[in-house]
């Protein structure tokens, strides 16, 4: 199972780093049986917000 996840992650890492980071996080959060789709979307919202803020801080 972990090999499958690694394979998907490797494919996602081919995208630009910020996009890959969000997509991989979405996959990791979704792999847990206990977190619902709404829950994952909410957690992703803060991941996206942090990335955009980080981007602003850098510039």
């Amino acid at each position: 199972m972990s090999e499958i996840n690694e394979l998907i992650k490797r494919k996602l890492q081919e995208y630009e780093p910020e996009v890959a980071e969000i997509a991989i996080k979405a996959l990791e959060l979704s792999s847990s049986e206990y977190s619902s789709e709404i829950n994952v979307a909410e957690q992703l919202r803060s991941v996206v917000r942090d990335i955009v803020r980080r981007r602003k801080d850098r510039s």
């Binding site: 199972m1 972990s2 499958i4 996840n5 394979l7 998907i8 494919k11 996602l12 995208y15 630009e16 910020e18 996009v19 890959a20 969000i22 997509a23 979405a26 996959l27 959060l29 979704s30 792999s31 789709e37 709404i38 994952v40 979307a41 992703l44 919202r45 996206v48 917000r49 990335i51 955009v52 803020r53 981007r55 602003k56």
Partner: protein, 559 residues
């Protein structure tokens, strides 16, 4: 994972300490298959339960769905009663499993305690410990349940355990070539590929993207706001079309599968087509004969109602003959009437004027005449009766003749029915009871499926065209949005977030398509190789290959 030894203490029906050593290549025997065989209730599932409990701490098995919780105890009941009687609580029960994986050796032990509260069994999970011998000979021990769970899951993930560890009942379910079996396989493949997680990730990102877009639309005005609104509508259209396309794919798949089944059925029918045709003709003829028999019976019933006099035919004949004889002899009606004879006898003079004296032969003869003649009314009645009986005789003859003809026809018909039934029975035996379905009905159904498939294909093509144009529009709007953002320098945090969520979503979708296509191909090829190893030569030639379809079920394509 190769199992070597299972030790149980007071577990289910295994009282005290008992162990089983499994055949494995690592053992001395060189054999690697262990068969556990026994009648119902002898503990086969108990052994399976012990393995699942030891590896995953499972109390329930998948087949326990309908079993009540209170009936599912793991600690040996006899030992619990014994402990209850002697006040020695709690009863310790454990399962220890020795196994190897990737040349490393493991010993896993899981304990459970039990006690009786009146008749109710109360159980509590105890310690769990794992010893792991690495290939270099070093041993590491783990006693934290989370570490143990993580190591066991790395060897065999609990989400797919049911497809590697199962008992006979599960094998029986998997070998059933029906929807249930396909669902089981499909579920297994999806679990193995983590497809559910990937799909959930896509849906969650879609949700986030939509929510960010909605926020952005609310806050945007003018041309930019208009573009965002159009993008939302476009996205909704795209989703609807994609949903309908997915739905159509499922419907198409089912209809094609059904058509394949019908074709297979029809193939069987081609070998017996001539018999089916004959049976069909015979069944039609039988229907006609049965109808004719019904009509003949009805007619006979009507005739028989009027033929009661046939029952007294002999008596009628006797009476008729008696009267007729007298008539033939001229006694009825008598040539000389009784009143004339009496006048001759009184006047003692014949009608010719000659004297008829008492004691003369002429007088005696007249006396005899007188005795032979009857009363006129009696004669008239006898004649009436003669006429009446003559009529009855004629009618009886006609009726008897008709009834005989009807009976003959009925007999012939009955013979035909018997012959036809015998032939139908023979044909049925030849065809076999499992194939009683009518080929014509199958042909009709096939026609219906074909037309449905054609309609769906047409609809599919049209939706695909619509989807293409919606996609183009979407791309165009996205470009307009980017241009507008640049033109009006709309680079706020919210729009950046929305854009990032959108890009992530596109990435997930693309990877999903790429990954599932690749992996389906790999599974199909591997499954084909495995199946070919399992099949005999003849079947190997028939098997073309196995494919994983869109619902992740395995489809066997043969020649």
């Amino acid at each position: 994972m190769i199992l070597h030894k299972l030790t149980m203490k007071n577990f289910r029906q295994f009282r005290g300490i008992q162990s089983i050593e499994f055949a494995s290549r690592m053992g001395d025997s060189g054999k690697n298959v262990t068969v556990i065989f026994g009648e119902n209730g002898r503990g086969k599932t108990g052994i399976f339960r012990a393995i699942m409990f030891c590896l995953y701490g499972d109390h329930r098995l998948s087949q326990d769905e309908e079993v009540e919780e209170k009936e599912l105890y793991l600690v040996n009941l006899a030992e619990l009663r014994n402990a209850d009687a002697n006040d020695r609580y709690p009863v310790e029960s454990f399962v220890e499993l020795e196994f190897s994986h990737k040349r490393e050796r493991y010993v896993l032990k899981r304990i459970i305690y039990g006690m009786l509260d009146r008749d109710k069994v109360i159980e509590e999970h105890g310690e769990v410990g794992l010893a792991r011998w690495k290939t270099d000979g070093n041993c590491i021990t783990y006693d934290d349940p989370r570490d143990v769970e993580s190591i066991v899951n790395a060897i065999l993930d609990r989400r797919v355990k049911e497809y590697f560890l199962f008992d006979g009942e599960k094998i029986e379910r998997l070998t059933r070539a029906n929807a249930e079996q396909r669902m089981e396989i499909s579920k297994g493949i999806r679990n193995l590929l983590n497809v559910d997680a990937l799909e959930k990730a896509i849906r969650a990102t879609e949700r986030l993207r939509k929510s960010l877009d909605d926020e952005l639309t609310k806050k945007s005005t003018g041309e930019f706001g208009k573009i965002l609104n159009q993008l939302n509508v476009c996205e909704e259209n795209r989703r609807d079309l994609k949903n309908r396309l997915d739905q159509l794919d499922v419907e198409l798949k089912h209809a094609s599968e059904e058509k394949r089944k019908v074709d297979k059925e029809l193939e069987k029918f081609s070998e017996i087509r001539h018999l089916l045709k004959e049976r069909n003709e015979l069944e039609n003829a039988l229907e006609d004969y049965q109808e004719a028999a019904k009509k003949l019976l009805e007619e006979m019933k009507n005739r028989v109602g009027k033929a009661a006099l046939l029952l007294v035919k002999e008596t009628i004949e006797k009476v008729f003959k008696a009267i007729d004889e007298r008539k033939q002899k001229g006694e009825i009606p008598s040539e000389i009437r009784k009143d004339l004879i009496e006048r001759i006898l009184l006047e003692k003079k014949c009608i010719c004027g000659r004297e008829v004296l008492v004691g003369t032969p002429a007088f005696d003869e007249i006396i005899q005449w007188k005795n032979r003649t009857h009363d006129i009314s009696l004669q008239d009645s006898a004649l009436d009766l003669w006429r009446y009986l003559s009529g009855i005789r004629n009618r009886n003859d006609d009726l008897a003749e008709t009834l005989e003809t009807l009976l003959q026809r009925y007999g012939v018909n009955k013979n035909k029915i018997e012959k036809v039934c015998l032939r139908i029975d023979d044909i049925n035996k030849e065809i076999g009871s499992s194939e009683r379905q009518d080929a014509a009905k199958l042909e009709d159904h096939r026609g219906y499926l074909e037309s449905r498939l054609r309609k769906m294909e047409v609809e599919r093509l049209s939706i695909q065209r619509d989807l293409e144009s919606v996609n183009q529009e979407y791309e165009k709007l996205q470009a307009q949005r980017a241009a507008k953002e640049q033109e009006e320098n709309i680079k706020n945090e919210l729009s950046e977030r929305a854009a990032l969520a959108n890009k992530s979503l596109e990435a997930l979708r693309a990877v999903y398509n790429e990954f599932t296509t690749e992996i389906k191909d790999v599974i199909g090829k591997t499954a084909t190789e495995f199946f070919k190893k399992l099949l005999d030569k003849e079947s190997q030639e028939t098997l073309r290959h196995i494919v994983v379809d869109n619902s992740y079920a395995l489809q066997v394509l043969d020649r």
